[in-house]
Symmetry: C2
């Protein structure tokens, strides 16, 4: 089907579109505040605390192809899919339904996402994201978003596919400071 679907088709085909319109409001774009409200109210993190605003900014940045700082419907759909995948992995490790996983479980979760990292790298990630040895869902999402984005950027520069990449300083700062 090569035709571009219009608003009507979207509504018919995608139940998520109505939700997107409600969250995005008049301008038809989701900002980081709107995303935070939507994720807090959806109860996706399993707590009543506001979803980490920094994680929201990260997610919008990651998917923001037009550099607008906001998110249209296609981007929101991608995000929703990724969030649900991360939620499923998170819940499979959060066996006592506490809304947090232990550092050890997070290491397994990262491995199950297909990342091949050394024990040192895994420990460093745990140290960065855990509070009192545990990681809540929104921080877990931050970690997944950044791992995915950084790995993508690295691989694009690893042109000989041998696990090394060369960076100019300005490029390195752009890649690493964007997430």
């Amino acid at each position: 089907n090569a035709s571009v679907p219009g608003l009507y088709e979207f509504c018919q085909q995608d139940p998520l579109y109505g939700y997107f319109v409600a969250v995005a409001g008049q301008d038809g774009q989701i900002s980081s505040d709107e995303l935070q409200r939507c994720l807090t109210q959806s109860g996706i993190s399993g707590t009543y605390q506001p979803f980490n605003i920094d994680t929201c900014r990260l997610m919008i940045n990651m998917l923001d192809r037009d550099m607008s700082g906001t998110m249209g419907f296609t981007e929101f759909k991608d995000l929703w899919q990724a969030l649900n995948a991360w939620k499923n992995i998170f819940m499979s490790f959060d066996r006592d339904r506490s809304g947090t996983v232990e550092a050890q479980e997070m290491q397994q979760a990262i491995k199950s996402l297909g990342y091949n990292l050394s024990p040192n790298a895994l420990n460093m990630i745990m140290k960065r994201y855990s509070v009192n040895g545990r990681i809540p869902f929104d921080d877990f999402v931050s970690c997944c978003v950044r791992l995915r984005g950084l790995t993508d950027h690295f691989q694009r520069r690893d042109t000989s596919r041998n696990g090394t990449a060369n960076f100019h300083y300005d490029d390195f700062i752009q890649v690493t400071m964007s997430m």
Copy 2:
């Protein structure tokens, strides 16, 4: 003076030591929660909102030479010094005393810290850190901590001092995910 100062000398010499002891509590180490409480109460950000906990974790990670996840007095002193320097720069750009700076002002602040970045890199940093075009103090500190840490790591790998550095994937993830 080559002798290692004891508790008494510290108290005599450094008014900050008493404050450190009060914040650190019984274990003599400052965790990210304790740092958050201390920075919120100190009013350093110019608002009554809690100081961003993620910024606190970042700061502890940056200075955590013994990888304990907490901060001893020497590390706290370094942090205090850096924080005050950043606060002074921030205030010199926050002319209307709103507790935030504009994206444009933050670019100037980064330049005044000596970083030589392209307009693209500066725009990307602004996009990452600003909310509705403004940056609050705790996010400004996050940005400074990360810029400093990432630049340090980069320069250590730029052995020929020509502005490029080669990273192995695992090393790249360790450097970038630690902050």
